[in-house]
C-alpha cells in the first residue's frame, strides 16, 4: 500500500519536472525568435466584438509575438475595467462621461474604430413597402403620443401606402446596450420633449413599449406582434434580411441606412470633430448622411509604462486604422472616413 502511494508521488514529480522542462524550452524557442511574447487584454462592447476578434486574429498573424485577448463583456463593464486598470484597453459604444474620465487614474484616449447605425424595423400586416419616417414620427411613436399607424405624422411622408388604423406596439431593447444609446441619443437631438422626459443612455425609463432581450429578442417580438415597431443595429438587419425603413435627415432627405450613408454621416461631422473624438454624430449636417449612426470606440490609457506593451498597442492602433479598416465591410460595419483616420493616427503619439 505504502509502495503504491510512494510510486504515485514519484510519478507526479516526474510529470511536473517534464512540464517545467517543456515550458522552459518553449520560452527559449520564443526568445530565439527575437521578440518576447506580449499579451494584451481588452474588454468591453459586444457590438464591436466580431470585428475586434477578427482584428486580434489578423494582427496576430502579422505580428506573431502579439496576442490580443478581447472579452465582450459589455460597454459598461469595459469602462469599469479600464477605470480599475484590470485591462490594457477598453471598448465602448458610448463615449466615457466626464465623471468616468475623472475616476480613471490614467487619462484615457478615445479611438473611433468603426461605425454602427440603428434602423427602425416594423411589422404591419398588409404593408410590405419600405416606410419613411420623419424625426417627429419616430419621437412621437416612442413617446407614446402617436398611437395609431394611420396617424397623419406617419401617413404624410408615406403617401401611396395604405396604413391601418391599428394601435402601434413599441418594442425596445430591455438589456442595456449601445444600440439603445444611439437610438435615444438621436431622439434626444430631434425632440426636445424626448430630451426632457427620457434622455439618452444605454438603458432609459421608456415611456411606452415592450422590452426584448438583445437584437434577437427585439426582432422576435416584432415578428410575433402585428403592428409593432422597434429598432435594431444595421449590421443585424443586413445579416438577417430584415425589412427596415428610411429616416429623414437634417436636410430633409429620406435616407436608407447603408454602409456608405453611414460613413457619409461621419465624414460630414469631421470638420467639427473635437480633439478627443468623444462626439455624437447622430443627426449630422449634409444631405447624404444617415442620421442614426455612431462610432464605437477603443479606450486606451495615455500612459503605458510597459514598453513592449506600449509598442504592441500603438502598432495595433496604426494597423487598425489602415489595414484593419478593410475588414469592416465584410462584417457589415461602416468604415471610418479617411479624413478621420488621419486625425486619429496623429493622436496615437499621445500614448507614452
Amino acid at each position: 500500500m505504502k509502495k503504491t502511494i510512494a510510486s504515485v508521488w514519484v510519478g507526479l514529480a516526474l510529470l511536473l519536472a517534464g512540464a517545467l522542462l517543456v515550458s522552459c524550452s518553449k520560452n527559449a524557442n520564443n526568445a530565439s525568435g527575437g521578440q518576447l511574447p506580449v499579451l494584451i487584454n481588452g474588454a468591453g462592447s459586444t457590438f464591436g466584438y466580431p470585428i475586434y476578434s477578427r482584428w486580434a486574429d489578423d494582427f496576430h498573424k502579422a505580428h506573431p509575438n502579439v496576442q490580443i485577448n478581447y472579452q465582450s463583456v459589455g460597454s459598461g463593464a469595459g469602462i469599469r475595467q479600464l477605470i480599475a486598470g484590470t485591462v490594457d484597453f477598453g471598448a465602448s459604444d458610448a463615449p466615457m462621461t466626464s465623471e468616468q474620465m475623472g475616476q480613471a487614474k490614467v487619462p484615457a484616449l478615445h479611438f473611433p474604430t468603426v461605425l454602427g447605425a440603428v434602423v427602425p424595423t416594423y411589422n404591419i400586416p398588409g404593408v410590405t413597402a419600405e416606410l419613411k419616417f420623419t424625426p417627429e414620427a419616430l419621437s412621437g411613436i416612442f413617446l407614446g403620443k402617436i398611437t395609431k399607424w394611420n396617424d397623419v405624422a406617419i401617413a404624410r411622408a408615406n403617401s401611396g401606402v395604405q396604413l391601418p388604423a391599428n394601435s402601434i406596439v413599441v418594442v425596445h431593447r430591455s438589456d442595456g446596450s449601445g444600440t439603445s444609446f444611439i437610438w435615444t441619443d438621436y431622439l434626444s437631438k430631434v425632440s426636445p420633449g424626448w430630451k426632457a422626459r427620457v434622455g439618452a443612455s444605454t438603458s432609459v425609463n421608456w415611456p411606452v413599449g415592450l422590452g426584448g432581450k438583445g437584437s434577437e429578442g427585439v426582432t422576435g417580438l416584432i415578428q410575433q406582434t402585428p403592428n409593432s415597431i422597434g429598432y435594431v443595429e444595421l449590421t443585424y438587419a443586413i445579416q438577417n434580411h430584415i425589412l427596415y425603413g428610411s429616416v429623414q435627415n437634417s436636410s430633409g432627405a429620406f435616407v436608407k441606412a447603408s454602409l456608405d450613408s453611414v460613413t457619409a454621416a461621419a465624414a460630414a461631422t469631421s470638420d467639427s470633430m473635437p480633439a478627443d473624438f468623444r462626439v455624437s454624430i447622430t443627426n449630422p449636417p449634409g444631405k447624404d448622411g444617415y442620421p442614426i449612426a455612431s462610432f464605437t470606440w477603443l479606450l486606451v490609457p495615455t500612459q503605458i509604462p510597459d514598453v513592449t506593451k506600449r509598442e504592441a498597442i500603438t502598432s495595433f492602433l496604426h494597423w487598425m486604422l489602415k489595414e484593419g479598416q478593410n475588414d469592416a465591410e465584410s462584417l457589415a460595419y461602416a468604415k471610418l472616413p479617411s479624413v478621420l483616420t488621419a486625425k486619429e493616427d496623429a493622436t496615437i503619439a499621445q500614448i507614452h
Binding site: M1, K2, V73, G74, S75, G76, A77, I79, R80, T97, E99, Q100, S167, V169, S174, D175, G176, S177, G178, V198, G199, A200, S201, T202, S203, V204, N205, W206, G209, L210, G211, G212, K213, G217, G220, L221, Q224, T225
Partner: protein, 327 residues
C-alpha cells in the same frame, strides 16, 4: 484543563505519522474532518454572498432606504431606482406558475405512484425528469415563438370574452406579459413537484393504504385521505423547491415577460422580474448608484428566497407535529 488535552492531541499527531496513516485508511477521523470542511465551505460561501451583496449595495440602501420597496420609477439616467415593479412581477409570475404547476404536478405524481403500473410509472417519471434538464433559454425560445402567438390569438381573447369582467383579464393583449411568464414557469417547475412528490408518495407504507381500504374507503378516498396527508410534508417541500426555482428563473422569464417595469392588475400586461432586470442591465450599468441598486435587487431576491424557504420549513414542521398529535 485545556493544556493537558492539547498536549495529548499534539503528542498523538507528533508521534504517529504511522498512526495517522492507519486512521486515514480506516477513515472515520478523516471523513469527519473532510465533510466538516465541505460543510463549512458551503456555509461560508453563502455568508460571503450575503456580505458582498450587503456592502456593495450600500450606496443604494443609504440613498433610498425603505422607499426602495415602495417606489416604482426605474430611471437609470435620473438616478431614480424603485424595486416595486420588479418585486411585484417576481411574486405574481411565481404565483401564477405555482397555481398551475401544483395541481398538475400533484395529479401527475398521484397517477404515477398510485394508478399506473410500475413500468409505465418509471418511464414516465424519466420523461418528466427530462423536462427539468431542458436549458431555460430553450423554454424561452419556445415561449416567444410558439406560446406567445398562441396566447395572443387564442387564449387571451378567450379569457377576455369569458372572464373579462375581472380586472385580471382586461386591457390589450400582447401575448408577452405576466401570464406568459407564469405559464413558462409552470412548465419549468412541474418536474420538481412531480419527481419529489412521486418519491414521497411511493414511500408511504403499505399498511397506511391497507388500513384505509379495510375500513371500506374507496381507492380515491384512500389516496386523498390516507396517502396524501401522510406524504404532506414531502409534497410541501417539493412545492417550495419549485417556488425557489420560479423566483430565481431569469432567461425564460425575461424572454416572455415584456420587460416593462410597471405594476398592472391585468395578467395580460407586460411586467418585469428581479432576476430579469439584473440579467438585462448589469453588464451595461454605468454609474455607482445604478450598480448598487441592481445589487440591492439581488439582495432582495436572496432575502425573499430565504424567507420563503424558512416559511416552508415552518409549515412542514407545523403540519408534521399536528399529524403526530392526531395519532
Amino acid at each position: 484543563m485545556q493544556a493537558p488535552t492539547n498536549v495529548i492531541e499534539r503528542a498523538t499527531l507528533w508521534h504517529g505519522p504511522r498512526a495517522f496513516f492507519r486512521r486515514l485508511r480506516t477513515g472515520d477521523e478523516v471523513a469527519h474532518i473532510i465533510t466538516l470542511i465541505f460543510a463549512a465551505v458551503v456555509v461560508g460561501i453563502t455568508a460571503l454572498l450575503v456580505y458582498q451583496l450587503w456592502i456593495q449595495s450600500v450606496l443604494s440602501r443609504q440613498k433610498f432606504g425603505w422607499a426602495f420597496f415602495f417606489t416604482h420609477v426605474w430611471d437609470p439616467l435620473a438616478g431614480q431606482f424603485g424595486a416595486l415593479p420588479f418585486l411585484y412581477g417576481t411574486l405574481v409570475t411565481a404565483a401564477i406558475g405555482l397555481c398551475l404547476a401544483v395541481p398538475l404536478g400533484l395529479g401527475t405524481a398521484i397517477f404515477l405512484s398510485e394508478f399506473s403500473p410500475p413500468r409505465v410509472s418509471d418511464s414516465l417519471a424519466f420523461l418528466v425528469d427530462l423536462l427539468a434538464a431542458v436549458p431555460s433559454v430553450i423554454y424561452g425560445l419556445l415561449g416567444i415563438f410558439i406560446m406567445v402567438p398562441w396566447l395572443r390569438t387564442t387564449v387571451e381573447p378567450a379569457l377576455k370574452s369569458t372572464l373579462g369582467f375581472l380586472p385580471l383579464f382586461q386591457g390589450p393583449t400582447y401575448g408577452v406579459g405576466f401570464l406568459a411568464a407564469g405559464l413558462i414557469l409552470a412548465v419549468m417547475v412541474v418536474p420538481f413537484i412531480v419527481s419529489v412528490s412521486r418519491e414521497v408518495l411511493i414511500a408511504v407504507p403499505r399498511e397506511q393504504r391497507e388500513a384505509a381500504l379495510a375500513l371500506g374507503a374507496t381507492r380515491w378516498e384512500t389516496i386523498w385521505k390516507a396517502v396524501v396527508p401522510f406524504a404532506k410534508s414531502g409534497i410541501i417541500g417539493s412545492v417550495f423547491l419549485a417556488l425557489a426555482r420560479a423566483l430565481g428563473e431569469t432567461m425564460a422569464v425575461t424572454m416572455v415577460i415584456g420587460n416593462d417595469p410597471k405594476v398592472s392588475a391585468s395578467l395580460f400586461a407586460p411586467g418585469y422580474s428581479i432576476a430579469a432586470v439584473i440579467a438585462n442591465e448589469f453588464t451595461e450599468a454605468t454609474g455607482n448608484l445604478y450598480l448598487s441598486a441592481l445589487i440591492e435587487l439581488g439582495l432582495v431576491l436572496f432575502v425573499l428566497t430565504f424567507v420563503l424557504n424558512g416559511l416552508a420549513r415552518l409549515l412542514v414542521l407545523a403540519t408534521t407535529t399536528r399529524g403526530a398529535a392526531h395519532e
